[in-house]
Amino acid sequence: MTLERPDRADPYLDLDEYEPEADLMVLNFGPQHPSTHGVFRVVMYLDGETIVKAVPYAGYLHRGVEKLCEKLTYAQITPIVDKNDYVAPMFNEQAVNMAFEALTGTEVPIRAQYIRTIVGEIQRVASHLLWLGTFAMDLGGAIGGGTSVFMWCFREREMILDLFEHLTGCRFHYNTHTLGGNRHDIPAGWAEKVHATLGHIAQRVDEYEAILDHPIFKARTEGVGVISAQLALDLGLTGPLLRASGVDHDLRRDAPYNIYDQLDVQVMTDTGGDCAARYRVRVREMRESIRIARALVDNVPPGPICGTKPIKLPVQTRVKDGQVYVALETPRGELGTYVIGGGDNRNASPYRLKIRPPSLHALSALPYVLPGHGVSDAVAILGSLDPIMGEADR
């Protein structure tokens, strides 16, 4: 796939124009709306119920995390960035720590790499489960079948959170990754719990597939919100969105980190580019992640779990200069962290920490995809993009 200049009209060029004579209804979709996934606003220009133009506005959940990171030291940043992608926090902490490790040249012990891979894959399952539930809820409503699927998905997700509770002590925002490795080692008996839970979830995923293999679901998703491969590449979409559009790209295989270079990760692609394709890709990824995690969890090699001195003082890691960009594959795509060393606290803070959230890029597809669809489809499309506003707005 070559990257060319897009020859289509860029909807961002005339975003703020509104022609009153066109007689359109302006619908402020969000930020107080049940299905804007946190806080997000799309201004829709409607002709009847058909969207003519859609203007997304992000930023309602902006917390200034990047700026905050410039004030905190390397040791303190991990628990703060945890809160970005609040559906898959494991990846946030892993991303910044991988960046810091690259910056300081710290070696991560093999055991820690295994643990990172395992928790990452389990977290991916949890994140996709949550997505499946909320997506069904977007399609099925808060009082209806959608909620049933939502509740069931959450029931299974809780089991994964239980696993993390046993490993790290927290169900969310674990702060288990640290510079040079992990803070928590695998407790006794955890591997069986993982096997039991993931085996159980694998069965339940089949069940969800059966319940969603329904003409109504097909009618609502097939051909809805088609993102072509070219558009996906142009907009910098990554992760399941890109793969659903037919581009075979997965950082776990193409730019392996942790121990992914030793693993045979099957990259799930689909050709439709529509909501149904994105659904299929995510469900298959769930199975693949379950497979990887189960294969690894019995074979964690012995050894230390942290490559450097554990955190004792906030300022113990100092980086004078240098910059690094590290990316990893989260359930939503490429989560990049760009760090420039040498900041406050006598070089113990980064000068600049930039996070490239996959969700923000996903949302940028909305003005291209929404026009021509109805309001109902808009909800389905927004849901299928799986945006996490905490991450998009930071």
Partner: protein
Amino acid sequence: MNPWLHAVLYSLVLVTVLMTCTAYATWLERKVAGRMQSRLGPTRVGFAGLLQPIADALKLLQKEDIVPLAADRALFNLAPPLTVFFALATAAVIPFSPGLLASDLDIGALYVLALSGLMVFPVWIGSWASNNKYALLGGMRAVAQGISYEIPLLLSVTIVILMADTMSLSGIVQVQADEGWFIARPFGLGLATFALFFVAALAEGNRIPFDTPEAESELVAGPTTEYTGMKFGLFYMAEYLHSIIVAGLGAALFLGGWDGPIAPGLHWMVLKTLGLWMVMLWARWTFLRFRTDQMMTLCWRYLVPASLGLLMAAAVWVHAVHGVS
């Protein structure tokens, strides 16, 4: 007894009973839905949450009654009681057991259909008066849907009328008690008609998978977006009333109404209504929702032709069995 007095007294009893049923229908629905979703449903208020409906009503009554500044006040306030009124009025002709009904109208079936057709009015009034875009979209959807699905509903009831040769609901039930229930008679045709009626009734009552007007995930709360407190409660109540009454209508038209062995008629009628209502509920918590245009396609492209075909088949069957009368 004076027929007027009978009507008034009976209506009072009926309204009370129906309202209580509605309140407990919400409890039952929440319990069943909760269990379906691996939850418990209400448990806190009273034993097994049995006082939950009362607590809900109290809560709704306490809520501040907000009328949007730009709303049309008169219409805005008119809509909620009107929905309940139409929903309750329908109940007048549902035969609960021989002789146990408010008014045995000769044109009972027609009356029911006419009133349920009118149900779209308060919804539209409310959505228009709210002066809210989501409400407007919801109202538009509700009207389109209500009017479209009225046709297959009407046609499926017409088939029953044709086969029973009477328009009085108690007459229809009597025919079924004498000659067999219409769901099974004639074989296949009755079942198909029942299915048609059921789907159309679900859509008419804005139940999932046809609840596009309310579609919380799209239109916040559809026509009721701007309603607060007990006004919203009235809409909610009307929806439940309507679904119960539709279930009762289905039981009377297809499942033989009060007809059944051993137990008195009323028991059977209640049992059948409850069963049908539970199926509606079960469907509600299982299915996703259609899109508006898909619903319209389903109605006009499949249900209306199918109902016309069934009507013709029923006419042929009636002619073959009874001859020209």
